[in-house]
């Protein structure tokens, strides 16, 4: 090949350098801004919550807020103890998790280790539908079908109660646990599974002793996710668990959760700037801190039990 063609060829390809580099940089910057928008969202959430809560805590001592056993912010002698809302939140989440964790885990083990490919391909999306149903529909189920059904066995059960809301919420949370756990278990390398089968283990032994422990990080993060779902779930409890702040540990009782309180107050359309308006932000801040704490725990769990195979 002649030397001249080589030269001209190289000149041709050296040409568009600067324009291209500028374009690449601009695009990268735009994409960065987009990615950063999620950080901006978090900052905005914290800003709004902290700003309003700050005003709130100027009126209400933080100790009273954390230790008070009565939550009556809208009455004549308002009391701002978050404990009743907290107990409602924890109780309903507790009932839900008592349903969802065992059922979700067993379903995940079954799907990943026992089910045939066909069954898995049908059952997994079918289970995922449980999470796709709008929560307002679940609230409807809990209030109009599940509570009356439970009243057949527990005649004293009030019309609004934690139990029905929690049970239905548990049903909704199952797929968060089963799907993510199943993914984690499926990701366990075939080599480990075959190692166990080659020792003469049954499917169950392989599933529980090898696959489960190898996938523990993914499984524990599914529990964390399920928990933060349960704690933050709103419509089911707002519709079916009752709106009365009630410091109780009895699931047969009615009780308002943090989320239900926010919804209830929002329905009344509180105007900007009143203390009643600020209460929902203080309650929201509490909720965010709870879920943040859960996430941090999840992060640690994932770190300690990182999948190492």
């Amino acid at each position: 090949m002649a030397q001249t063609t080589l030269k001209s060829r190289s000149r041709q390809i050296y040409k568009p350098k600067l324009a291209r580099q500028v374009k690449e940089k601009v695009i990268e910057f735009i994409l960065f801004l987009a990615a950063f928008s999620s950080v901006a969202t978090t900052v905005a959430i914290l800003y709004i919550l902290i700003k309003e809560s700050f005003l709130f805590f100027q009126e209400v001592p933080i100790v009273d807020f954390l230790t008070g056993t009565k939550w009556t912010p809208l009455f004549v002698n308002p009391q701002y103890g978050i404990l009743p809302l907290l107990s409602g939140t924890l109780m309903s989440a507790g009932v839900a998790l008592a349903v969802a964790i065992p059922m979700g885990t067993i379903a995940a083990i079954y799907l990943s280790e026992f089910a045939t490919k066909r069954v898995r391909e049908i059952a997994k999306p079918a289970l995922e539908l449980l999470a796709a149903i709008p929560t307002v529909v679940y609230g409807y189920f809990a209030l109009l079908y599940v509570t009356p059904f439970l009243q057949n066995f527990f005649p004293k059960l009030p019309g609004f109660n934690i139990l029905a809301a929690g049970l239905v919420m548990g049903l909704m949370i199952i797929p968060f646990i089963s799907s993510i756990s199943e993914d984690a278990m499926s990701a366990v390398p075939v080599g480990l599974r075959e190692g166990s089968y080659a020792m003469g283990a049954t499917k169950l032994q392989t599933a529980l002793k090898v696959v489960f422990s190898a996938a523990i990080s993914g499984i524990s993060s599914s529990y964390i996710l399920g928990t933060s779902r349960a704690v933050g779930e709103t419509m089911i409890v707002a519709i079916a668990a009752g709106l009365r702040p009630n410091l109780t540990w009895n699931p047969f009782d009615q009780a308002a959760t943090i989320t239900a309180f926010i919804v209830q107050v929002s329905l009344g359309d509180l105007p900007h700037g009143t203390i009643a308006y600020q209460t929902i932000f203080a309650a929201g801040l509490t909720l965010v801190l709870m879920t943040l704490l859960l996430n941090i725990i999840g992060h640690f769990l994932a770190k300690t039990y990182r999948e190492i195979y």
């Binding site: 067993i106 379903a107 529909v137 409807y140």
Partner: protein, 307 residues
């Protein structure tokens, strides 16, 4: 191997196999129970609402008389809100996903964004409602409008879109990236010509799943204050004079399907319970329809793409 030994081995084996089958039965039962309960409740609702699901139900506004009340303003509102949500969440989420997967260097900033996205995914939806109330309604003065609601839900599903975008991009084998670079493509060329087209389908699937979640969200919309009697439609986005597009509808008051259902659920008259059941059935139908599209897309993609 001595036969006594073999016999011991077999007894032990039989016990283990029994436990094994017991568990398999338990697992299948649990899955079946969960699905049957869901199916049972849904069908019960559908039967209860069936008498109300007529064409008029879709073309009537809400009314104080249950038998005349319909979901026209609700489903139109839902569609418009979803439109805003999709328009905001898709570009933002896809761009973020691309940045995180293809550009971000391993540094504290990338870690921050990454951890932040995970965290946002766990923030309860009602908190987005509070954000919207404080930010969109009061600080930015967007009012209790379709725009506020759409943006709120867009932020809510942003983590879903980001995560699925990242996963779809990650599923593209590195060999294709290297092939493109080796031909002298720049980074953006590689992304635009290869990464995006090849992951388009699965990103779309993720977005649709995100939207199907947004469609049923009630709490954040209640928080911005949308529970009202709305018996009219927002202005049409099209008009006869130039420039033919109108954005007034963005500012309009609105209601959406889950809010309408919530409204009817909390009415005590049995007749409205039927409406609520009918609206719930339609809402589930919409959600399932959207999910079915997503599943179909995913299936089509699996069939076509094999790298």
């Amino acid at each position: 191997m001595p036969t006594t030994n073999l016999r011991k081995l077999r007894t032990n084996l039989n016990r283990r196999k029994l436990i094994n089958s017991g568990f398999a039965f338990l697992g299948a039962t649990i899955i079946a129970i969960a699905i049957i309960i869901l199916l049972g409740l849904t069908l019960k609702m559908a039967f209860q609402g069936a008498e109300r699901i007529t064409p008029e139900f879709f073309t009537s506004f809400p009314s104080r008389r249950a038998s005349r009340a319909g979901i026209l303003s609700a489903w139109v509102g839902t569609c418009l809100v979803m439109l805003v949500t999709a328009m905001a969440a898709i570009p933002l989420g896809v761009a973020s996903g691309i940045y995180l997967e293809e550009y971000a260097k391993k540094n504290w900033l990338a870690d921050l964004i990454e951890i932040n996205v995970t965290n946002l995914a766990g923030v309860p939806s009602i908190i987005y409602g509070l954000l919207a109330l404080g930010l969109f309604v009061y600080e930015l003065r967007l009012g209790q409008s379709i725009l506020s609601a759409g943006l709120t839900l867009a932020l809510l599903i942003l983590p879903v879109v980001i995560v699925t975008t990242r996963e779809s991009i990650r599923a593209i084998p590195n060999s294709l990236r290297e092939a493109s670079y080796a031909l002298g493509a720049s980074k953006w060329q590689t992304i635009w010509d290869h990464i995006l087209p090849y992951s388009f389908g699965s990103i779309l699937t993720g977005v649709i799943i995100g939207l199907s979640r947004a469609i049923g969200e009630t709490a954040p919309i209640i928080t911005i204050g949308a529970l009202t009697f709305i018996a009219f439609l927002p202005k049409s986005p099209f008009k006869s004079e130039f420039p033919f597009l109108s954005f007034e509808w963005l500012q309009a008051p609105f209601t959406v399907m889950p809010i309408q259902m919530f409204n009817w659920v909390s009415r005590p008259q049995a007749a409205f319970e039927i409406n609520a059941a009918a609206a719930g059935t339609v809402l589930i139908g919409m959600t399932l329809g959207i999910n079915a599209i997503a599943i179909f897309l995913r299936y089509q993609l699996r069939k076509d793409i094999k790298w």
